[in-house]
């Protein structure tokens, strides 16, 4: 059974039209992450939530926002997608230190592929 579920798997939007990607987890992990992966590049961390604490990477554009209404769900909002935002967006989870043994492992969803026309 999938433990980190991302929806939609494929999203097509128009230039400048807002998009929301969702992620849910059944692992009860403290930490949820959003990564952006462009073709032939390394996954790049955009931000993460440790419980309700939001942590933005310094180079994440303001165009990207996130919400975590509860432990299980996390959303990625792209306010005005540009052509350069076309990518695979990966959600991942991990236990925080308070969640017991920290193995360092991230659990990834299957990703949401965003196309911008």
């Amino acid at each position: 059974d999938a433990m980190v579920i991302q929806n939609p798997r494929y999203q097509v939007t128009q230039f400048g039209k807002p998009v929301t990607l969702s992620c849910s987890q059944t692992l009860n992990h403290n930490v949820m992450y959003w990564y952006q992966q462009k073709s032939s590049q390394a996954p790049k961390l955009l931000f993460h939530y440790y419980d309700k604490d939001f942590n933005n990477e310094a180079d994440t554009p303001d165009n990207f926002q996130s919400r975590r209404p509860n432990t299980s769900f996390c959303f990625l909002d792209i306010r005005s997608p540009g052509l350069g935002d076309a990518a695979m967006y990966l959600c991942a989870t991990s236990r925080g230190l308070a969640g017991g043994l920290n193995t360092g492992e991230l659990f990834f969803g299957e990703g949401s592929r965003l196309t911008v026309l």
């Binding site: 390394a42 996954p43 993460h48 440790y50 925080g96 230190l97 360092g104 991230l106 990834f108 990703g111």
Partner: protein
């Protein structure tokens, strides 16, 4: 500034032979290293990890070697199987933080032919 580098974008190996995937890192603060495997249209899945206090970790057909002085790690798959064909990502991070800010390499595409 790419802190984790996988210099071989692809590797082809025959079934039954050894596959060796390499990874180099530049940040000496990294103390934990992981390999992820990714099939097309799926998210990465954890394969094997190693902490900086070890130089080898083995799990079945998969062995990861760490050379801290060279800031180099490698993943050995023996024997290689066609089902191992995937993209392999090396990742590095620090375990003493409450979250895992993993830095990933660009991946190596492994093709194992029958």
């Amino acid at each position: 500034d790419q802190q984790v580098k996988q210099n071989s974008p692809s590797l082809s190996v025959q079934e039954g032979r050894i596959s060796i995937l390499n990874c180099d890192y530049t940040n000496s603060m990294f103390d934990y290293f992981l390999w992820y495997k990714k099939y097309p249209a799926e998210g990465p899945t954890f394969l094997i990890s190693i902490s900086s206090i070890k130089d080898k970790n083995e799990d079945g057909r998969f062995t990861v070697f760490l050379n801290k002085s060279a800031k180099h790690l490698s993943l050995h798959i023996v024997p290689s199987q066609p089902g191992d064909s995937a993209v392999y990502f090396c990742a590095a991070g620090r375990l003493n933080t409450g979250f895992q800010k993993l830095v990933f390499g660009t991946g190596t595409r492994l093709l194992v032919s029958p």
